[in-house]
Subunit: 220 residues, 2 copies
DNA sequence: AAAAAAATTTAGACTAACCTAAAAAATATT
DNA sequence: AATATTTTTTAGGTTAGTCTAAATTTTTTT
């Protein structure tokens, strides 16, 4: 049988909370992420377990089965491809596309996804720098650094963000930080860990620890 | 409040069955079109009436209110724009897009529709020749003829189809009849009303009454 | 105009996805 | 180790959208 919109969302969220090492996800964490109550989550977990999409033993948290992982990755693939479409083709800002992609990701039809992928030129990353799984479901997380792990004087490339909140993305827009920017930390304030960063070798600007923590970068 | 996927479908179908003159639609007709039972339709009609989207008096059939008409036309606009996208941009055949557009039409976001419309170059017609309502909800049905109303010797332009079934569209593809083809009826068989038609001034082919009845054309 | 047939609505149930309140299990604290 | 706290599950309900079977209204036929 087909998976519902809601089931797909649970699987996607379990995937996200489970991380690359596939750690167990708690009922409460899912209640939080799905904006529902723990009792509702328990109901859904029983259903997903019955369908063979998750490993579930009472009181022990859940992980995805192979089948569940496949569904989750397919949803993620669709989400990220649609985000590319919205930004590249329709001209939306990267801060505007999340909610719309959240709907589009549940539109069924493999043919649609594959044609969309081709139309977009088989992009590898979405507008936030997140990697797009390929048609076979291979999702390789590039091992980016967080800006807080970069020392003074090192030049790094801005590759992605951890926080996708519109307010954060708009803040980056106002600061002139975009994917591909070259960042160089010129100074770190010991007291609050805020930093001075030179962008593309020109203007320098202060960024708070909160911002540094959410910037994914790569050494060159 | 927002309208559900199902509610939008009812409104769209009422619009279609109601025709340009806004005639009452029966419960049974809706049950047929929605593939549900009459009892289920009655329940939904009560709900739509409560929301002010239809005029409904028991046993009397329904028509759309202004508000209901607005919703229906917005759904039709989205459906037809997505069909253009699927055919023009993703390369789907006109026989393959209906079901996918049926899903996409319920994705919310006015911003999305308006940007899609602009991206497509504000198309006036979908791949089946159906007119696309504008952003204000103006939908003007062009007054096409049905091919059965065309006499021998008249040259007409193929402008659209009444039947959207993949099998019918594929039949047209195999016959070499597409939107914009010039059709000239060279002969009508009195016995079964089948016709010989010259296409773009070259090959001539036989078409059955069933086919003629579903071809929308325009005198030039 | 009465009877028969067809269309529609009501009554009572089901499933999916949610809820609250209470019970049970796991974990943390003394 | 016993108690307190937190987490999770169970029990019992709700709403949206569907169903079947029975009742009612409208329409058609005689």
């Amino acid at each position: 049988m087909q998976n519902s919109f809601t089931e797909e969302n649970y699987l996607k969220i379990i995937h996200a909370l489970s991380g690359r090492d596939g750690v167990e996800v708690s009922t409460n964490a899912l209640a939080e992420s799905t904006s529902t109550r723990a009792a509702s989550v328990t109901d859904m977990l029983r259903k997903l377990a019955d369908k063979g999409l998750i490993h579930y033993k009472k009181y022990q948290g859940v992980t995805l089965t192979e089948a569940g992982e496949k569904v989750a990755i397919s949803v993620i693939r669709k989400h990220r491809l649609w985000e590319v479409f919205l930004v590249e083709k329709l001209g939306f800002g990267w801060d505007e596309v999340h909610d719309i992609a959240e709907e589009l990701e549940h539109v069924p039809s493999n043919e649609l996804v594959e044609r969309l992928d081709a139309f977009l030129g088989h992009p590898r990353f979405d507008p936030h720098g997140d990697p797009i799984p390929d048609a076979k479901g291979n999702l390789t997380d590039p091992d980016y650094l967080i800006l807080t792990d970069v020392g003074i004087g090192e030049k790094v490339l801005m590759m992605g963000v951890l926080d996708h909140a519109p307010s954060f993305l708009q803040h980056l827009d106002r600061s002139g930080i975009t994917l591909g920017s070259v960042l160089e930390i010129t100074e770190i304030n010991e007291y609050d860990k805020s930093a001075s960063v030179r962008i593309n070798g020109s203007q320098t600007l202060f960024i708070s620890l909160e911002v540094s923590k959410n910037l994914l970068v790569q050494r060159r």
